[in-house]
């Protein structure tokens, strides 16, 4: 197999297909990160929650140390956290491709989506399940980051706020989150870069992203290598500047921290 200028010129005549693919990929990544973020935020709050139906067992006084240990163990049980944990583990321990197929063929096999195109060329009934699947996946991963960002805020802040009489919710909203956001935002932006790359498997359910159009051009022209090079170039041009910008903003934010 050879790579020739002639071939490259030939596939460039399919430029608008690559352009459409590019738009789909970026749009998919944006939707994913947007909805994934809310999911992740909810999951993070669940992971940090203190819903313990048996907490009264902590207070039960007993001289039997084993009984006390058993009571404390049961008192730790937090169903909300357990559910969130199960979800995160499911997302982490199953392949993304499987998750996409599950969502597309099973979930949206039962739910019929309206068939229409938006922006002229994006098929909603394929785009939407892909965005849902990616958001479900990305949300699972991002929840750990958000939780870490919240936990990374010095405990003294919570103590100070609580000692002033603020409730847990007030402390979270007024004190912790504004500080945690600095830890969280760069990671969310990086997730955007990750999703741009990982969304490339969505061509398997017919989402017309960059990879899908690579396949189309390949089968239309019988040229194999050059469309792939084109895709490589496009992904790189999307990801490299974005991650550089994030790095820069992150550095700036850190500088303003230790004024």
């Amino acid at each position: 197999m050879t790579i020739s200028w002639g071939n490259i010129e030939k596939i460039l005549t399919y430029g608008n297909m690559f352009q459409q693919g590019l738009i789909v990929t970026v749009l998919l990544a944006l939707c994913t990160v947007f909805f994934g973020f809310f999911l992740a935020f909810g999951l993070a709050l669940m992971l940090l929650s203190d819903v313990r139906p048996f907490r009264y067992l902590e207070k039960v006084k007993t001289d039997d140390i084993n009984k006390k240990k058993r009571n404390d163990f049961i008192a730790k049980f937090n169903p909300v956290k357990l559910i969130a944990n199960c979800y995160v583990q499911f997302v982490r321990c199953t392949p993304m491709l499987v998750q996409i197929f599950l969502v597309y063929y099973i979930v949206f096999g039962f739910i019929t989506l309206p068939k229409f195109t938006f922006f002229g060329f994006i098929q909603f009934e394929r785009f939407f399940p892909a965005a849902v699947a990616l958001a479900l996946n990305s949300g699972g991963y991002m929840s750990a980051v958000i939780r870490g960002g919240i936990e990374g805020v010095d405990n003294g802040q919570t103590e100070a706020a609580r000692s002033l009489g603020m409730s847990k919710a007030q402390t979270m909203y007024h004190i912790i989150l504004p500080q945690a956001i600095k830890n969280i935002l760069p990671a969310v932006a990086n997730e955007f870069v990750t999703i741009i790359k990982e969304s490339s498997i969505c061509y398997t359910i017919g989402v017309q992203d960059i990879m899908f159009n690579v396949k189309s051009v390949q089968s239309a022209t019988f040229i194999i290598a050059e469309p792939l090079l084109m895709a490589t170039f496009l992904y790189f041009c999307l990801c490299f500047p974005t991650s550089k910008i994030i790095e820069y903003v992150e550095r700036r934010m850190r500088q303003s921290d230790n004024r």
């Binding site: 006084k61 140390i65 802040q157 100070a160 000692s163 002033l164 009489g165 007030q170 500080q179 004024r259």
Partner: protein
């Protein structure tokens, strides 16, 4: 100084254990804190001073015992913890100012969202108090722009903005450069003069002697000796206290 003898806080058999009793941070503390008391808590590192102080406003949940504050057992009764905490101010070793808020916002946030004061009302009081600690002109600065001593004075004012009945101090000057200790102690002295009930963990023996009306010596999670500054510093009884004073006073 107003010292009537109604105990504001009654601590009974207070225990805080870790690892199922392997570590006894507090092991049966009994003490009455009266209105207007300036109680100074001293003792070697790890003796449970911080744990005791933090138990008083339930930042630390006691393992056993009771704390009766203003007639209510805050450990064992079902109480609204937040409502009760706003009546006790706390000042920390590391200030714990909110770095993302200006000094004025630091001072006015809790009065507004906890006490429901209006912004104007909260700011008026905050500026008044800031003025008294000589920091009115720094109201719009951020905590990073202040020195340690200034931060701690702001932290004290932040607690005062809630009109607390008791102020708890946990080594408020330990994180400060020596030249800044004085300005913070001065503010605390003022507060004591006005009759504020204070419980103060400190290593500043001069302050303890001058400002405290009661000194409590803790060791191994217990109160070993308690009394007036004269009694504790000039006529210590227990060997632990004598030993401790020997070490601190020669340093």
């Amino acid at each position: 100084m107003t010292t009537d003898n109604t105990a504001l806080i009654k601590v009974r058999d207070l225990k805080k254990h870790y690892n199922y009793g392997a570590i006894k941070a507090l092991d049966g503390v009994n003490i009455d804190i009266n209105k207007g008391d300036v109680m100074v808590v001293i003792g070697p590192s790890g003796s449970g001073k911080s744990t005791f102080l933090r138990s008083l406003n339930l930042l630390e949940e006691p393992t056993d015992g009771s704390i009766v504050f203003d007639g209510r057992d805050i450990v064992n009764e079902k109480i609204n913890l937040d409502e009760f905490r706003e009546r006790m101010g706390m000042v920390f070793q590391h200030f714990n100012l909110f770095p993302h808020k200006t000094i004025l916002e630091n001072l006015t946030l809790a009065p507004q969202i906890v006490k429901g004061k209006s912004k104007e009302e909260a700011e008026k009081k905050a500026l008044e108090l800031l003025d008294r600690v000589g920091l009115k002109d720094r109201a719009s600065a951020y905590p990073v722009q202040l020195s340690g001593g200034q931060k701690q004075r702001v932290a004290i004012v932040r607690a005062l903005c809630m009109d607390p009945e008791v102020m708890l101090f946990d080594e408020p000057t330990s994180a400060l450069d020596p030249e800044m200790v004085g300005e913070v102690l001065e503010v605390m002295k003022e507060l004591a003069k006005e009759g504020m009930t204070m419980v103060c963990v400190t290593h500043e023996m001069g302050f303890a002697r001058e400002v405290g009306n009661r000194v409590v010596f803790m060791a191994d999670g217990n109160i070993i000796e308690e009394g007036t500054p004269e009694k504790i510093f000039d006529h210590p009884e227990s060997p632990r206290l004598k030993d401790f004073l020997g070490k601190v006073l020669e340093a």
